[in-house]
């Protein structure tokens, strides 16, 4: 693994990049867990798992190691991966 950089780059929706001191960003527990590569790997794996199986009848199981289950639970809650993604309304439909 490369040496951990002192800074973290945050990229905004419209393409601006902000280089922020890593220690400062860690105030957010969510970002703290997200910049952990093991977590990020599982979240990205889920994106592809969803995309690959989204129209399949028989969906294989995705394995999550027990030690990551709580952190992923928090991440899923934060990322809104707890409900059906296509239903997310910009104005809040419910």
């Amino acid at each position: 693994m490369a040496e951990v950089s002192k800074y973290v780059t945050l990229i905004s929706n419209d393409g601006f990049e902000f280089v922020v001191l890593r220690e400062a960003v860690l105030i957010s527990p969510m970002i703290k867990s997200m910049i952990d590569s093991k977590m990020m790997e599982k979240v990205v794996e889920y994106f592809h798992y969803w995309y690959k199986n989204r129209e399949k009848e028989d969906v294989p199981d995705m394995d999550i190691p027990a030690e990551l289950c709580l952190e992923l639970l928090v991440a899923a809650d934060f990322l809104g991966l707890d409900s059906k993604k296509p239903l997310q309304q910009p104005h809040g439909g419910y």
């Binding site: 009848e57 995705m62 639970l73 059906k84 419910y94």
Partner: protein, 556 residues
């Protein structure tokens, strides 16, 4: 030179007395002695020279310098050239001093003092343990006298190999799983009589828990594979967990006089022709009632056409309204078994088989993976107080696809909307349910984590306790295990049991067996939107149950 003794060819190893080990000996060509201090030569350690003294080499310009005597593995340089008489004595071995080699792999008694000290100093306890420690102490429950009496009877039954377990009217409010689960070890003491070969017999457990103010049946009950009779009559339980579907050997279930509002859909699975459940005592109970039901008074449960995908079981002459017609009994193969080539034939007559008819279906209650409702329709909550009359629940026409939540209708529905892929939340929850520390998980959440996650994990534990498993419930459509179903609904079914006999009219030829007055609500759930109920025709029966049709005798 002729008197020189011949020696075996020199091995490529030689004994190095300095290090007391063999070293690789450099093989030199007979005529090519390399210069001693050349940079390109090998380091001296590979040399056979014990004493790289120049005098050892200066014997008349000879290439061969040394002779070796003795066994090959104790080769010491003995003499330069005996023919020239200038003998070189072997170098005296340096005196060995006993010295400990730390990586020798040999453990010595003296190691203990020094090594232990080192290890102890290296490890040391870190200030912050990796796993957060629980601050809450686990509640310790003292068994009530009634529970102790129940335990005594359970243990007695195991000791004596008794299949009947009478724990009725003890005033039990709860029964711990620990003792109950040991009943799975119960084995029968077989009757040995003359002329009868010894046979292993699976126990047919009969558990009577009636007359106890039990709030919920103990979860371990549903892991008793050989349970054949279960009576929970006159208890205060409000829900029968889906794990009842595990009891494949159940023949009789009595849940009358409880607070049940609905039954789990898994009970229907036990009522197929393969199932053993033939006696079901479920009334009276404050079951939810449909606000309207399919009016099939006119639409007889006896079809005028032969059903598709069904297996002919029996035919007989009709009587009464069906006089002059032939009544046929069919086994409904259902959607699940379509395309299955080899359909197992049910046992031959006489056959007791369930007849089922879908009477009504409630709208779907949609939730997200946290259990937060996202649809307009809500299933009534389980009342907590006593003596609440049966509630009337809204229904929708089951001949059409279920109505989706408003937000879903406003967006473009794609195939992905009905995807069967579980959410990341659901996958994480399933992983949580499998861990050994499932019960402690809520305590491991950090203070900064959202509070509703702790509630979600508490729900998971409650679900696990009720079902006697890790906390998952089966999807009613695809049977996959799911922690938080995304959709739930109630279906009302009319039930009746039909006795098919070789002789005589078919038991329910006039549908008198089907209990139309009291449709029974069953709670169903779906793991994803892909598993929502399909539109069902009128006269739909549950797979594996019986259907009837009539044909005029002239046709047949």
């Amino acid at each position: 030179m002729a008197d020189e003794p011949t020696l075996p060819p020199l091995p490529s190893v030689s004994w190095d007395s300095g290090s007391q080990s063999f070293t690789r000996k450099r093989v030199r060509g007979a005529h090519a002695a390399p210069p001693l201090f050349s940079n390109s030569s090998d380091p001296a350690v590979f040399s056979s020279d014990d004493d790289p003294n120049v005098e050892n080499y200066a014997q008349g310009g000879r290439q061969r310098k040394k002779r070796y005597v003795g066994s090959w593995f104790h080769q010491h340089p003995a003499s330069g050239d005996s023919a020239f008489g200038d003998e070189v004595r072997p170098q005296p071995k340096p005196k060995r001093t006993f010295q400990r080699q730390f990586d020798s792999g040999v453990w010595m008694g003296s190691d203990i003092s020094t090594d232990m000290e080192e290890v102890g100093m290296e490890i040391g306890l870190t200030a912050n343990p990796k796993m957060p420690q629980l601050n809450v102490s686990r509640p310790v429950t003292v068994p009530s006298p009634a529970e102790r009496e129940a335990h005594r009877r359970i243990i007695e039954a195991i000791e004596l190999g008794r299949e009947n377990l009478d724990i009725t009217s003890l005033g039990l409010e709860r029964l711990s799983d620990a003792v109950l689960s040991s009943l799975s070890e119960l084995s029968c003491i077989p009757l040995v009589t003359d002329g009868v070969p010894f046979e292993h017999k699976d126990p047919a457990l009969k558990i009577f828990l009636s007359g106890n103010p039990l709030i919920r049946p103990p979860g371990a009950l549903f892991n008793l594979e050989f349970l054949s009779v279960l009576s929970l009559r006159n208890t205060r339980m409000a829900e029968l967990p889906p794990a009842i579907g595990n009891l494949r050997n159940l023949k009789t279930l009595n849940v009358s006089l409880t607070r049940l509002r609905y039954l789990p859909a898994e009970l229907l699975d036990l009522m197929t022709y393969e199932g053993k459940l033939k006696e079901l005592i479920i009334h009276p109970n404050p079951f939810h009632q449909p606000d309207q039901r399919q009016d099939y008074e006119a639409l007889s449960p006896i079809l005028s056409e032969e059903p598709e995908d069904a297996l002919l079981l029996h035919e007989t002459d009709g009587s009464g309204a069906y006089d002059g017609k032939t009544v046929r009994a069919w086994l409904d193969r259902g959607d699940m078994l379509k395309g299955v080539e080899e359909y197992p034939r049910p046992a031959s007559l006489p056959l007791d088989i369930w007849q089922t008819l879908l009477a009504a279906r409630s709208p779907i209650q949609f939730t997200d993976s946290r259990g937060v409702r996202v649809s307009q329709f809500t299933l009534p909550r389980l009342p907590t107080e006593d003596d609440v009359p049966p509630l009337v629940v809204e229904t929708e026409d089951f001949a059409f696809s279920p109505e989706l939540p408003r937000a879903a209708r406003e967006t473009n529905l794609t195939a992905a909307t009905f995807s069967r892929v579980p959410s990341l939340m659901e996958i994480a929850l399933r992983s949580c349910s499998r861990t050994a520390q499932r019960e402690q998980l809520p305590g491991y959440l950090e203070g900064s984590d959202p509070h509703h996650l702790a509630d979600t994990l508490h729900d998971l534990n409650a679900q696990a306790d009720a079902n006697g498993n890790s906390g998952t419930v089966p999807c009613s459509t695809c049977r996959k295990s799911v922690v938080k179903p995304l959709a739930q609904w109630i279906e009302w079914w009319d039930l009746g049991i039909v006795a098919l006999r070789e002789k005589g009219p078919i038991g329910s030829a006039n549908s008198s067996e089907l209990d139309k007055k009291q449709s029974v609500p069953f709670m169903k759930r779906a793991c994803s939107w892909g598993c929502l109920p399909k539109p069902a025709g009128y006269g739909t029966s549950f797979r594996g149950t019986v259907k009837f049709s009539t044909v005029s005798k002239a046709e047949s």
